[in-house]
């Protein structure tokens, strides 16, 4: 007679495999399975469907806590969003998507070409500006990104802009001078508009594994991250790294990116995301 307070080994192994291969991370997976075992009723231990449903709802409950779309409520001054993240995560494209959405809703947007470092970064944002019909504030090549952002806020104030989206260069969170540059950008924005940046949006690639958690921690330490956008969820990766990040940091999740076109942006929805994890 086996005490039914434990999942059997086979079940544990297959659940662990589902969680780990979705990039949920082995430690987070263990925690979830412990929580699962604690929450199951005695008779449910023999019911694989009940176990699955319970696991899904545990994850969904966890993610509902951080489901928090960016409410762009507008006051007399522009709302400033600073977009940050590691190289290639999808920052510039995400800015274009947010700008397109806000413009379609009748708002006045200014995109700021704050990546003055990478080849053709400014040009890339300008192409998007042209497609969306949205101005792009830029500086000279190699200009100080903070100076470009400072001037852009001045322009936004003059022009009655509702929403300012500041693009920054990709950077690895391990590069101290680059993280310092980000802190400086933040201080500079506040010099022009004290409440700016109202949102610091960290863009994370859904195909990342456990490094995403380190990214979130380090960026959050440098500049408080107030929102997350998880991109490339149209790929085969399930974006499970978000579960670990939410578990450890609880940062609001704003958007998901589901493609390369300007409409490929959705508000984060915990239920849909969790369902897709198990699909």
């Amino acid at each position: 007679f086996r005490s039914r307070r434990e999942l059997d080994e086979g079940m544990t192994a297959s659940l662990e495999q589902i969680l780990v291969t979705a990039d949920i991370g082995v430690k987070t997976a263990y925690q979830l399975l412990e929580k699962l075992t604690a929450s199951l009723k005695r008779k449910e231990f023999d019911d694989p469907d009940a176990i699955m449903m319970r696991l899904r709802s545990l994850i969904e409950e966890m993610l509902v806590e951080v489901e928090s779309p960016l409410r762009l409520s507008f006051g007399p001054e522009p709302l400033v969003v600073m977009v940050v993240g590691v190289n290639g995560s999808g920052k510039t494209t995400t800015i274009a998507k947010i700008a397109a959405r806000h413009k379609a809703a009748g708002g006045k947007v200014l995109m700021v070409a704050g990546d003055t470092f990478r080849a053709a970064a400014v040009e890339q944002l300008e192409v998007w500006g042209g497609r969306i019909g949205c101005p792009v504030a830029r500086g000279k090549e190699g200009a100080d990104p903070s100076a470009v952002a400072f001037d852009a806020l001045g322009r936004a104030l003059d022009e009655g802009t509702d929403l300012v989206l500041v693009d920054t260069a990709g950077r690895l969170h391990t590069r101290v001078p680059l993280m310092e540059q980000l802190k400086k950008m933040r201080r500079t924005l506040a010099k022009k508009i004290p409440a700016a940046p109202h949102e610091t949006l960290l863009v994370i690639d859904a195909s990342n594994g456990q490094n995403a958690i380190l990214q979130a921690k380090q960026f959050n330490e440098a500049v408080p991250v107030t929102g997350i956008a998880l991109t490339k969820l149209d790929g085969t990766s399930k974006g499970g790294c978000l579960v670990g990040i939410s578990n450890e940091l609880g940062i609001p999740v704003r958007y998901i990116g589901i493609g390369e076109k300007m409409h490929d942006l959705r508000d984060f929805n915990a239920r849909d995301f969790t369902a897709a994890l198990f699909a």
Partner: protein
């Protein structure tokens, strides 16, 4: 920097005189956590640990036979760490950063991968590397989709004084085919195709790659993979490999703290050799692959 899993394992074994079946399974579990946290793919982790277990058990038996109760020279902790390390190095394969070049007239290198993995930057790094080998590369802007992709490659090419071929009116397979002719005309002997980022489930774009390969038969087809990639690494590599025959892969952004378990995973699951690693944004940041370096990083 020992990762927690490995540190735990070593500490666990510190006090022990010998490696036994009991403490071995404890230690393997700690290593497993470490590998999975390093983004080594699930099945690859399992088969790696099975192999390590087999070797370790074999050695335990041998040790008992040979030493009986004589004191061992090497502590089980050091010995076990070395066993894992050596097994990992062996899995990574020999250092082989060879690119393949035809005698004449133009060889080609095709660079492929997911969005944002670092292809354009890596294509330029390869141009610089190939130039240093005394060849005359030409960069080919085969990404017609991404805003300012051509400008990006042009800028990098100009920094290196490497010519860049682009053609606004053509599709990528035609661009690559035409680039070979242009290469001959301008006296270049290696064409490097920078292709657009794509998802492996995008059939149209995967077919585009197959078409480029069919028309130009590039000697080198390199998958560019971000070091931060998680469990999908093997599926992604296999999907590219099934459509086009990869000759190697390059792992980028290894200058960060991503452990890069995908490198081991891809090599183990597909046999595709790791040719280079990207260690930074600037164009001199391309290093030849060293199995030792990557093994230590994955083990932590």
């Amino acid at each position: 920097i020992l990762t927690k899993g490995f540190r735990d394992a070593r500490q666990y074994l510190q006090g022990m005189r010998t490696l036994t079946e009991e403490n071995l399974s404890e230690v393997l579990q700690m290593i497993r956590v470490s590998l999975l946290e390093a983004d080594v793919e699930f099945q690859v982790t399992r088969s790696f640990l099975d192999r390590v277990k087999e070797k370790a058990l074999g050695e335990i038996v041998l040790t008992r036979v040979k030493h009986k109760d004589k004191k061992l020279k090497v502590s089980p902790s050091d010995h076990f760490t070395k066993l894992c390390h050596d097994e990992l190095v062996q899995l990574m394969g020999a250092a082989d950063s060879q690119l393949s070049f035809r005698a004449k007239p133009v060889s080609a290198v095709m660079v492929v991968g997911l969005q944002g993995s670092g292809k354009t930057t890596t294509a330029a790094k390869l141009a610089r590397y190939i130039q240093k080998q005394g060849k005359r590369p030409i960069l080919v802007a085969a990404d017609i989709y991404r805003p300012a992709a051509v400008e990006q490659l042009r800028k990098l090419g100009s920094d290196l004084q490497v010519p860049v071929f682009s053609d606004g009116g053509e599709d990528p397979p035609s661009i690559c085919t035409k680039s070979i002719r242009t290469a001959v005309e301008v006296g270049c002997d290696v064409a490097i195709f920078d292709t657009a980022g794509r998802l492996t489930i995008d059939d149209v774009l995967m077919e585009e790659l197959r078409r480029i390969q069919e028309l130009t038969s590039p000697e080198n087809v390199l998958l560019v993979c971000d070091a931060m990639i998680g469990q999908e690494s093997v599926n992604i590599a296999k999907a590219f490999n099934e459509r086009i025959q990869l000759t190697g892969f390059i792992m980028t952004k290894l200058d960060g703290d991503a452990r890069g378990g995908a490198a081991l995973s891809i090599k183990e699951a597909t046999g595709i050799p790791i040719k280079f690693v990207g260690m930074g944004e600037s164009l001199d940041r391309l290093e030849e692959f060293r199995p030792e370096g990557l093994a230590s990083r994955i083990l932590g």
